[in-house]
């Protein structure tokens, strides 16, 4: 029998929340070796292993099909691979780790409240400033999909930002940002506002399954999904 691997977050609140749900689901995890091991096993179902990985690694391993299930943020999964819904299945939304991926602009841009406003500004930007509108973000894929496909905005540049993205406009690294926010307080502290139709994704932690043909007809797959769903 092939092994089913479930990747769970290796640290932080998301780790504890995931553990709580698995416990409630009757999927008790026993550590392999010692307590600080990054491997575990589900008791009571044969051949189901736990791998503790960082949240972004889990998204990557799901994309590669290297694990069967993962618990991680929807934002990371959607950002991490093209044609995501063909590659993975979002089996359950777990009700924690909630945060929105949003388009935020300087508060003082009184004339920009919607994506259509931003489209006007972007279209004119090069003529006025000699360069394209710059967006600081770590979400390249989500930004492109939202701007190009949903709003017909093509003319902008992405500036990669791996941290403290909210500070990029004031620091002059970019004009606007696409970032994740849960309460909006960091955005407000940096005098940024979310556009009225600027929520790209309402993300939360999810149980995600990599779509694999070996899963077809494997009763353990349905059992795990059902157990987690009933625990919510």
């Amino acid at each position: 029998m092939n092994t089913i691997t479930i990747a769970l977050p290796s640290k932080g609140r998301i780790k504890e929340e995931a553990a709580t749900i698995f416990e409630r689901a009757g999927l008790a995890i026993s550590a392999v070796g010692n307590d600080r091991s990054y491997r575990g096993r589900i008791e009571g179902i044969e051949g189901v292993e736990i791998a503790y990985l960082s949240a972004s690694e889990i998204a990557r391993e799901l994309a590669n099909g290297a694990v069967d299930f993962g618990v991680t943020g929807e934002d990371l999964v959607r950002e991490g691979m093209p044609e995501v819904d063909q590659k993975v299945e979002f089996c359950a939304r777990l009700g924690f780790g909630g945060a929105d991926v949003v388009v935020a602009v300087p508060e003082i841009w009184l004339d920009v409240e919607t994506m259509a406003d931003l489209g006007d500004v972007a279209a004119d930007f090069r003529a006025r400033h000699g360069r394209r509108l710059a967006i600081a973000t770590k979400y390249w894929r989500l930004t492109q999909q939202f701007f190009s496909r949903q709003h017909g905005i093509q003319l902008y540049r992405i500036v990669e930002s791996l941290g403290a993205t909210e500070g990029a406009p004031a620091a002059g690294q970019a004009d606007i940002i696409v970032d994740i926010t849960s309460t909006g307080s960091t955005l407000r502290a940096n005098h940024l506002k979310v556009l009225a139709d600027g929520v790209i994704l309402k993300s939360e932690a999810c149980l995600v399954r990599a779509r694999k043909t070996v899963h077809d007809g494997d009763p353990r797959i349905a059992k795990i999904v059902k157990a987690v769903r009933t625990a919510l």
Binding site: P106, L110, D111, E113, W140, S148, H151, Y156
Partner: protein
Amino acid sequence: MPLSDMPEFSDDLLKEFETRRTERVNTPVIQPAEPFLDIAGEDLRRRIFLTESETGASLCLRPEFTIPVCLRHIETATGTPRRYSYLGEVFRQRREGAHEFYQAGIEDLGDKDIASADARAIGDATGVLKALLPGRKLALTLGDQAVFEAVVQALGLPLGWQKRLIHAFGDMEHLEALLERLARPQPVAGLDPEIAGLIASGKEAELVARIDRTMQETGYSTNASRSPAEIARRLKEKLELAETRLDGSALLLLREFLTLQLPLDEAPAALAGFADAAGLKLGAALALFDARLAALANAGADIGGMTYRAAFGRPLDYYTGLVFEITEAGSSAVLAGGGRFDRLLTLLGASDHVPAVGFSLWLDRIEAGRADQ
């Protein structure tokens, strides 16, 4: 002798380019990525092969030839008019087909006789395809951004609305959304009443000062890209544009125009008839359209066999007039695509305005077509 893995018809193709009095140029395969992303937009990023130099400069494998050829032209400063041709490999991430394939084409830079240069580009593209695919029935579709711009202008819409519509030309979904907004204007919501008051009473200087003050207080002014004056001006414009409603008949006209699709030789009469019936003056744009057609007819092109589609355009800001595509009749695979890009060279840094028109040939599809023969 070209590389051995070049398409087997390369020699024929290069001879065609030579008899058409072009100068063959080559460009490095590894290109700075900046100009491509800057000109064609971020969407290109996932379709090109990007890498980084040791010093962190962003580089890519040549995804097309037009930009490198134009950059080379600007750098060598050899003056215009010039007719360049190219044949070489391009690299793109595609869902279907190989990631590296050959492209060839002609870029005609600096000819000020727009109509005849347009006609020559169409003639060259058709001529080369006929030579490479003898006996095949080709279908050409032609569009003209300048005609759409003239229609929008003649409808008397405010400049801001004209810009929005022109910017969306070629992207039907986006254009439809704009027309919807024009039919049902939405008032601007959520504006601070104090700000609204300043605008309503025409106190623009006060508004600018207020924005400036806030910028200072929030530590945003040092690096602000958009100035207080720019924000105030656009806010005012936005409020005006939000009140613009295109009445039902004008909207119908615009929609009717966008559905026009007919044999090219019937297009002048249809466009003139449309302008008359609508009471629109499309003067210069139609004159150029007709002159291009006359030049095509003079060159012996079968314009009755070509199709004019009014909504055909490319939603990139450097295309300015003619666009065309050639397929085999009944197929959707584009064998040659081209158009006029009068704004590209200045966007790339040329100091003078350089009118430009060109096309590229998809050699892998042409090769497949020859194999079917």
